[in-house]
């Protein structure tokens, strides 16, 4: 059970691994493309910002859109990395890129604003100058100075120009000085010119301020490490891909290990199963053996029970000769008494003496004969009840029939006449006791069957040798016969027509087995009203043992019952 579970688990694990290895990481394979798109968008944005700074962008739509597209792409990538477990290690790099991007976006806004201011202030400068020229006093030298306001404005513009070209601190100071001078002179001007000058001054201030700012922003822009951040994402991605490959590889290794384990566990399972089967087979054989033993004992006990049933009859059989042996002995005893001796001695008649001697002789013979009968019966019973493993010996069927008839005589005496039609069949090889058991069983059955008839029956025992070298034995009776619906069942174990307590129903089935073991057949033929014939055929085994008696041959035992 554990093995099966293990195999199932390993197989499942292997399957899962296979699936894992096979399934491509969708997000991971697509992410590099997105990264490329991201960098393209950033490059585009950079171009737009540059064109803005160079003054070649007609408006800010392009640069703003480029920035927004880039941010949208980054949002998309963040969402993907956020929702995908395998891309989680990229998050920090993406975050730092985002921060760099946000800084850049902020700078871009500043650049846009600053550039617009710078441009506008510069645009207006010429008109400031032309406005100032409307006032004649701008061309007049100022009180206390050699300069005219227009000259001052020119100086301012030149200083601003120089500064614009090269925004160094020195030039910045130059510009500041000039502006300060204009401011200080404002009070001396007419309101109109002072106004113009004031505007002029603020525009120069804006230009210089925004020029410096523009520089600062440009530098700040180049300082932002979006490139490095994108590179970081790229390298993280590459290492992620590598680790993915490696993990796939290690998965494959694990898969190999699991596969090996699977093979091992299958082998283990197979060996376990085969061991179990071996055990089962052994147990099975033992059980069979036990079964045989039990059947043997069953047979034995049925034999004994059959025998038991015959005890009454047999007792009677024994009693009869025993009684008259006893009578003979008592007579002899009486003859031996002194009274009788005296009466005999008194009588001098020789013929009477001779008669008395013959009478004694006859009595003694009868007695011996009776004893002989008893002894035969007992020997027969002893033979019959002996448990033996059925050693094969040569056995005379006709003798067996006769001994069976002898044992069954009490049951047959008042029931039927016995007819023997023997054909002088040769001896066969088989288990004598078992075959005797069979014959006795059949004879007893016949007797029981004929018992119910009103008339005296006839039991015919027939033997003959058939053409195929088998011995055929018929046990015929003219009892009531066996009805058709029962005749097929008579050999079934535990099948009996007798009431409970009389008969086990095992008799005929055991006979069947015994005959089968001998390689023979037993069959029944019956006609209700006419009678029944049980026919046994037994093969005639040609071998005969050297002595013919029960010397056990090692490999020749027929088991008591068939397997």
């Amino acid at each position: 059970m554990v093995c099966v579970a293990l195999i199932a688990a390993l197989a499942a694990g292997l399957g899962y691994l296979g699936w894992l290895i096979q399934s491509p990481n969708q997000a991971l394979t697509e992410f590099p493309n997105r990264l490329i798109e991201l960098r393209d968008l950033e490059a585009k944005w950079d171009t737009e910002i540059l064109s803005l700074q160079l003054g070649i962008a007609p408006n800010y739509d392009q640069v703003t859109r480029a920035g927004h597209d880039l941010k949208a792409k980054l949002d998309e990538m963040e969402t993907i990395a956020g929702s995908n477990q395998s891309l989680a290690p990229l998050q920090p790099a993406i975050q730092s890129y985002r921060q760099a991007l946000e800084q850049k976006a902020k700078l871009a806004e500043q650049i846009k604003a600053s550039y617009a201011m710078l441009r506008n202030a510069a645009t207006i400068l010429p008109s400031s100058i032309s406005d100032s020229l409307r006032f004649p006093e701008s061309l007049q030298p100022m009180p206390g100075l050699n300069e005219r306001p227009s000259d001052l404005m020119t100086e301012n513009i030149s200083a601003m120009m120089s500064f614009t070209i090269s925004p160094s601190p020195i030039l910045q100071n130059a510009v500041q000085d000039r502006i300060a001078r204009i401011r200080s002179l404002g009070a001396q001007m007419s309101p109109g010119l002072a106004n113009v000058l004031s505007r002029f001054r603020s525009q120069i201030e804006v230009v210089t301020r925004e020029r410096l700012q523009g520089n600062k922003l440009m530098l700040a822009l180049t300082a932002i490490q979006t490139g490095a951040a994108a590179d970081k994402i790229q390298s993280d991605l590459t290492s992620l891909e590598q680790s993915e490959v490696e993990s796939k590889r290690s998965l494959r290794d694990v898969g190999l290990v699991l596969g090996a384990l699977l093979v091992i566990s299958i082998v283990a399972l197979v060996s376990l199963l085969s061991r179990r089967f071996a055990e089962l087979y052994k147990d099975n054989r033992v059980l069979k053996q036990v079964n045989e033993n039990v059947e043997e004992q069953l047979m034995q006990s049925s034999k004994l029970s059959a025998l038991g049933q015959m005890v009454a009859g047999i007792t009677h059989e024994i009693n009869t000769p025993l009684a008259y042996v006893k009578a003979v002995f008592e007579l002899i005893k009486e003859r031996m008494t002194p009274v009788y001796q005296n009466s005999v001695a008194a009588d001098q008649d020789e013929e009477a003496e001779e008669a008395r001697r013959e009478e004694l002789q006859i009595l003694l013979d009868d007695g011996l004969h009776g004893l002989e009968e008893i002894s035969t019966l007992i020997r027969t019973m002893k033979n019959f009840s002996r448990i033996d493993k059925g050693q094969i010996e040569s056995f005379s069927i006709e003798e067996g029939i006769e001994s069976a008839l002898l044992i069954a005589r009490p049951q047959l005496k008042y029931v039927a006449d016995v007819k023997c039609e023997f054909d002088s069949v040769p001896e066969i090889m088989g288990s004598a006791s078992q075959l005797r058991q069979v014959l006795l069983n059949l004879i007893v059955n016949a007797g029981q069957a004929m018992k119910v008839m009103d008339r005296r029956g006839v039991l015919t025992m027939r033997t003959r040798l058939t053409s195929s070298d088998t011995v055929q034995i018929d046990v015929c009776d003219n009892g009531p016969g066996i009805p058709e619906d029962i005749v097929g069942k008579v050999f079934d174990p535990f099948f009996t027509t007798k009431p409970v307590g009389e008969g086990t129903g095992m008799g005929l089935s055991i006979c069947y087995r015994i005959i089968e073991n001998h390689g023979g057949t037993i069959a029944v033929s019956s006609k209700p009203g006419k009678g029944t014939i049980f026919t046994i055929t037994l093969p005639r085994k040609g071998e005969r043992g050297p002595t013919g008696d029960d010397v056990p041959r090692p490999n020749d035992g027929i088991p008591a019952v068939a397997a």
Partner: protein
């Protein structure tokens, strides 16, 4: 070399006629002006723009290439509104219904249409709108016409997606609770059915916003007279408007009010020259963009769109200026540092009027 040189030569003529010793100085002036002009032209101004400004006959604008992602440089700073937008009409109608639905304010009785009124060019004609419980809002309501053409939204320009803007405004300005709104709308079987027809996952917050945004995208006003002019119809606008456009560019208004929506794509300082009253609170002015790095002491706002501007007054973030000529003067003063004449203001106004487009085929003035 341009206008600068024209001025210079005028000066020279004037000067030469008068004082002899001064021609040396005038030469210096001439040099200075030339340098100024030249350098200004080369380093600070788009050369193309300058050429256009000086040499081009005002009536001979060549049709601009419309700005797209991959096209080369366009010539004009303003490009026309696209004539066609691909939209799902079912979603637009649904969005329109939601636009007028006060259930989006979770019981505050406000809908988008409360402040974006069609008769007022989808603004409301007030300085500042009243919002939840009659409390005044912070900034002037902006028009929703052409809102999809803006790359930055709101007075502070910090929102860049229409979806985020819709989501936020429902919560903040209308006091709506999105979960409550969704469940209320779901209980409306007609609304649920309408959503079920269009969206696979039915009525969700994202789908409500999606429908609203689709409607917003349908609010473009193409075919303004100026757009037709840009496309080559020389008679689309009056000569005054053309002159106004020229001034618009020359004076630098077009530095900030540019792009397809004549604004809406950058942040700028409000009050570059001087300090207007509306910028009295400096960089913490409510509604302004904070922490942009653009200015420490002055408020920074997103540059608004000037399309349909004749109908979207009052102007500026606090609605403090009610007429367009005033606004133009204001901008010239505080953004450009210029003193412009009434005549120039009228020309620019004529130009700005020509930016009014058509909604569903009808010019806005006739809605």
């Amino acid at each position: 070399m341009g206008r600068l040189d024209q001025n210079a030569s005028t000066c020279l003529t004037k000067v030469r006629g008068g004082m002899k010793p001064l021609w040396i100085l005038s030469a210096r002036q001439f040099i200075g002006f030339s340098i100024a002009g030249g350098l200004a032209g080369c380093f600070l101004l788009p050369p193309g723009d300058f050429a256009r400004t000086a040499l081009a006959d005002e009536t001979n604008l060549s049709p601009p290439i419309e700005a797209t992602g991959t096209q080369p440089i366009t010539i004009e700073p303003i490009s026309p509104v696209p004539l066609q937008v691909e939209l799902d009409t079912k979603k637009v109608d649904l969005g329109h219904a939601l636009f007028n639905d006060s259930r989006l304010s979770s019981g505050n009785g406000l809908s988008c249409a409360s402040c974006h009124i069609p008769q007022h060019a989808l603004a409301d004609g007030r300085k500042v709108s009243t919002g939840i419980s009659g409390n005044l809002m912070v900034t002037n309501t902006l028009t929703l016409f052409n809102v999809a053409l803006n790359q930055m939204l709101g007075w502070n320009g910090q929102t860049t997606s229409l979806q985020k803007q819709a989501e936020g405004v429902v919560k903040v300005r209308m006091g709506g609770n999105w979960d409550e709104i969704v469940s209320t709308l779901r209980a409306d079987s007609g609304m649920s059915a309408a959503f079920g027809e269009i969206y696979k996952d039915g009525l969700t917050r994202d789908n409500v916003i999606n429908a609203l945004v689709e409607y917003e995208k349908s609010l473009d006003t193409p075919n303004a007279p100026f757009d037709r002019y840009l496309r080559g119809d020389q008679n689309a606008i009056s000569a005054e408007a053309k002159a106004g456009y020229q001034l618009f560019k020359d004076y630098g208004c077009a530095s900030c009010h540019q792009g397809v929506n004549v604004g809406g794509n950058m942040l700028e300082v409000f009050g570059i020259f001087g300090k207007p009253a509306a910028a009295a609170n400096g960089s913490s002015t409510p509604g302004s963009a904070k922490d942009t790095g653009i200015s420490d002491d002055r408020p920074v706002f997103r540059v608004p769109s000037l399309r349909n501007v004749q109908y979207t007054g009052p102007y500026f973030h606090d609605g403090s200026v009610s007429t367009l000529p005033e606004a133009i003067g204001f901008m010239a003063e505080y953004q450009l540092g210029r003193d412009i004449s009434q005549d120039e203001i009228s020309k620019i106004e004529a130009f700005l009027d020509s930016l009014t487009g058509e909604y569903q085929g009808k010019p806005l003035g006739h809605l």
